[in-house]
């Protein structure tokens, strides 16, 4: 009798089908702390706060009314736009217009503010042209969306670009060439039509057969119009080829590999970098290597991990086909170089910098390998190639600058620098003998640019010391964790939008923003590590979706005057889950769960944005891995669906007083002999501040190595772009590779694992994504969230996939190279799948 009772119970406890966890169709409730106090009031408390960001909240139509029904407001907007409508922009102009009224008013304010700053800063000589241009751009872009009958160059380019034929692109190239000739000759004429005078907008290559940008198209939507592989036939996918880069860790690089590599595909070739920055061209149909170029990056240059997320392509509209470097491949390297080689041959572009190389260490101060490293593909816009860099976190306040620099894409000469500590003074580089402002927030991830508008959007991270802020400058406070729009021609700031005030949680912006048309307005979509997703006006930075704020946040004991008592949140959509409770701890047995409960009760935790503490640990939830990290979101612009994969993991942190840190021997990178590949923040010195930091990333139990929080640890979600509502949400990642003491459980259930790397969405109705730590690569039905196909990778698939076409055959591709932080096996494979040939 007893056994018949017990067996089902056992089975129930074990046998968890994904059905019970998946298919949640509700948006998580807004955070409990959500309140809508008039932001103008709180504004006065802190002079550092970005006034513009707060004020617009007050002006947003819904804020005054919002008592508890924050979730209702987006819904109200939703009702006007039917979720079925294919293109969001096609919904209805009236609704947009009505909604836009108020924000538009605010927009003017902001624009005035920005312009004022610029006006006071720059004497009214030639320099006022960019400022004017910025103003005009706003109207220009509005006009562009309203009527196609504009004659100015950007619109032309856009129209032509919309045609998929190769001939059209060539024409466009020719047009652009003439146009740039014109503008170069006559500066005065350029006033009205082109937003800036230096370089006209060049036509952008189209995504489809090619995958010409890291994010697919120029707007980084990660959407492909290919539909040969679709929901009906995806199960038949078979491996076509596997290419080995041959780049595997050796010596001290062992345990530090996280290549995160995504190839580009143009013409017949795949173009990529390996973990240690070897540039490679591979035949896109066969996987045979065309050429490789090794810039010789030493192991000591590896910062946190050996990472090269991708390369950037630039086709010179003035070059003839066959010219050397007519199309060039550009990458930023771990040892801080920009390298440009000929896409056809792999030969260095001799006209670019010194023999194809620009040294980024210039004007940064002492050269310390591994402290300053480029891991993300640079962005080319208006004839300049723009890059930031990873500045190794948590070392010292006196760290290399987070300066953003733009170089002439042909010559490699510095076009401008945006040093947020001295934007005017250092625009053309620091004065002789000086360096860019040290310790400032950096941009380690990928930017996105609007070639027509001439703006580049920079997702900024934090200052060099992440978990202590009282020593930061006004400018650091202003720009950290902000999306910053710069005029790509001048390097001047146009607007910025801050996602965390006084960030002491390492909530760097990690995702590449995406450019879309949102209800008729050119918009930029920004997903954050806290999970909030914002949609901003590309021209002004004004939120197009409701932004609210949480107030009365805990101040903590360490630096209560510095900790912000309010923070912005997106009430349109957030990936963030409700705060943790003791019962959310986990384990495999009551004993390890009990241990985690004790740890939970021992820590400071007052929900989202609990400030750092030194007397005891504090829980940071979500942890620094996201929310949305560098994998970014993918947006099916045809169906109006955004796909976001995310992590749902807390960190368990503690500040370490300096004296104790010294006893522990914590030293910054410029004072240590060698470094081990510990997870970021696990004993970082933060020299210059009164505290070091110890991060237990993922809050792992000391007893079992398992997370102390309950699964799922990662999910993937579809969001209706018209309403911001969740269409489906499910865990991503099976338990097959995970288990206590690091033993694989081989359980096929969707437990929901940590994940890094994004997705691709296709016109075939599929989402392709690896990312999770189960080493699976899978195709998911974009309408239902159901996994339709999956395959086991030979190594961790922590990279963004791509899809492309050669000779009428569609391929999907992902690199399987592993990830030290995700603890997946290392590899060097680049793998392509396609449907069987008939």
């Amino acid at each position: 009798m007893t056994r018949t009772l017990l067996i089902p119970l056992c089975l129930i406890a074990l046998a968890v089908s994904d059905a019970s966890l998946a298919q949640e169709t509700q948006t998580p409730p807004p955070t409990d702390q959500t309140q809508t106090t008039p932001p103008a009031g709180t504004d006065t408390t802190d002079s550092d706060q970005p006034a513009a960001t707060i004020e617009e909240d007050a002006a947003t139509p819904d804020s005054p009314a919002a008592t508890e029904g924050d979730a209702d407001q987006p819904a109200a907007v939703a009702e006007e736009a039917t979720p079925d409508t294919a293109a969001p922009e096609a919904t209805d102009d009236t609704a947009t217009a009505a909604e836009d009224d108020q924000p538009a008013a605010v927009t003017e304010e902001t624009t005035t503010e920005t312009t004022q700053t610029e006006a006071t800063d720059s004497p009214a000589t030639e320099d006022d042209q960019p400022a004017e241009a910025a103003g005009e751009t706003t109207t220009d872009s509005a006009a562009t969306t309203d009527s196609a009958a504009t004659t100015d160059q950007p619109a032309d380019a856009a129209e032509e670009a919309a045609e998929p034929s190769a001939a059209a692109t060539e024409d466009g190239a020719a047009d652009a060439a003439t146009a740039s000739d014109d503008t170069a000759g006559t500066e005065t004429e350029a006033e009205g039509d082109t937003p800036s005078d230096a370089v006209a907008a060049a036509p952008q290559p189209e995504v489809g057969a090619d995958w010409p940008f890291y994010g697919g198209d120029a707007g980084a939507t990660r959407y492909s119009p290919l539909d040969q592989i679709n929901r009906e036939n995806v199960a038949q996918l078979e491996r076509v080829f596997t290419y080995h880069t041959g780049d595997l860790p050796e010596g001290e690089a062992v345990g530090m590999y996280s290549p995160e590599t995504t190839p580009l595909k143009v013409g017949d070739d795949l173009l990529m970098c390996s973990a240690m920055n070897v540039l490679i061209s591979v035949d896109a149909a066969t996987g045979e290597e065309n050429w490789r170029y090794d810039p010789g990056v030493p192991n000591e240059a590896i910062p946190y991990g050996a990472t090269c997320r991708g390369v950037t392509l630039y086709t010179d509209p003035e070059a003839a086909e066959g010219d050397a470097c007519a199309t060039r491949v550009i990458e930023g390297t771990l040892d801080a170089k920009l390298v440009a080689v000929d896409a056809a041959t792999g030969a260095p572009c001799e006209d670019f910098g010194e023999n194809g190389t620009v040294d980024l260490w210039q004007d940064l101060g002492e050269r310390v390998p591994g402290w300053y490293a480029v891991t993300a593909p640079p962005v080319v816009v208006r004839g300049v190639v723009v890059t930031g860099a990873q500045v190794l976190d948590g070392q010292a306040e006196d760290s290399p600058s987070g300066v953003i620099r733009a170089y002439d894409v042909r010559t490699g000469e510095l076009a401008w620098a945006w040093d947020l500590g001295a934007p005017e003074a250092n625009r053309d580089g620091p004065p002789e003998g000086e360096v860019y402002t040290r310790g400032t927030p950096n941009m380690w991830t990928t930017a996105v640019a609007d070639e027509e508008l001439g703006y580049i959007y920079l997702p900024m991270g934090n200052s060099a010391v992440d978990y202590y802020g009282s020593n930061r400058s006004e400018q650091e406070n202003e720009y950290a964790t902000s999306l910053v729009a710069l005029d790509a021609t001048t390097g001047e700031e146009v607007w910025h939008f801050q996602t965390v005030r006084h960030d002491v949680w390492d909530y760097d912006l990690g995702s590449q923003p995406s450019l879309i048309d949102f209800e008729g307005t050119p918009a930029v979509v920004l997903a954050s590590k806290q999970g909030d997703i914002y949609v901003l006006d590309r021209a002004t930075g004004e939120p197009l979706t409701p932004v609210d704020e949480i107030t009365d946040l805990p101040q903590g004991d360490v630096e209560p005057d510095y900790i912000a008592d309010s923070q912005p949140i997106s009430t349109w959509h957030t990936l963030r889950k409700p705060p943790l409770e003791e019962k959310d701890t986990w384990g495999f047995t009551p004993i390890d769960q009990l241990w985690c409960r004790i740890k939970f009760r021992q820590a400071n935790y007052e929900g989202y944005m609990t400030p750092p503490s030194a007397d005891k640990p504090w829980i940071q939830y979500p942890g620094y891995n996201g929310g949305s990290d560098w994998g970014s979101v993918a947006i099916d612009t045809e169906r109006g669906i955004m796909i976001a994969n995310y992590n749902d993991i807390p960190n368990y942190n503690q500040l370490i007083p300096r004296e104790r840190a010294d006893e522990m021997g914590l030293k910054p990178i410029d004072e240590v002999e060698s470094r081990a590949g510990a997870p970021e923040g696990a004993g970082d010195p933060q020299t210059g501040s009164p505290y070091a930091i110890n991060v237990n990333a993922g809050w792992r139990s000391e007893l079992t190595g398992m997370p102390c929080s309950s699964p799922p640890y990662g999910g993937i979600r579809a969001i209706d772009m018209a309403t911001g509502e969740t269409l489906w949400d499910r865990p991503i990642g099976t338990a097959r590779r995970n288990g206590p003491f690091g033993i694989p459980s081989f359980l096929p259930f969707d437990i929901g694992t940590p994940n890094n790397g994004g997705s691709v969405v296709t016109a075939g109705g599929l989402v392709f994504i690896a990312a999770a730590t189960d080493n699976l690569f899978r195709a998911i039905d974009i309408e239902t969230g159901e996994t339709l196909w999956s395959t086991v990778l030979p190594a961790g698939g922590q990279a963004n996939p791509i899809t492309y076409e050669v000779d009428g055959r569609q391929y999907v591709m992902v690199t399987a190279m592993g990830h030290h932080f995700m603890e997946t096996p290392v590899g060097d494979e680049v793998i392509a799948w396609a449907l069987p040939e008939e």
Binding site: C10, T589, I591, Q593, L594, R601, S710
Partner: protein
Amino acid sequence: MVTGTENHSPHRRNYAVMTLGWICVLLGLAILAGGVWLILLGGSWYYAPAGLGLMLTGLMLNWHRMDAVWIYGLTWLGTAIWAYWEVGTDWWAQLPRMLAPTLILILVLICIPALRRR
């Protein structure tokens, strides 16, 4: 685990049962201690009594007393009710709460033939 005898001799020591008994005593003590600590930290009151129940079960097993079954049955039932109250049908969340206690229940039940009725 084979109890090995149909002979309910009260004088016969069954080492398998005693091993399980000691395991239960040790685990029970750990859970009792941790549970008291957790109560002092302001946390759940489940663990201390559950640990006590497990420890008593272990003692009874060492003495080959049938009370082990009743005490553990009660502990397990209480655990099931508490676990359902705390996380409902979230099966991943039930794993740490119910899996090990249920395995122990099975082992305790297997011991029945070797236990002495009063």
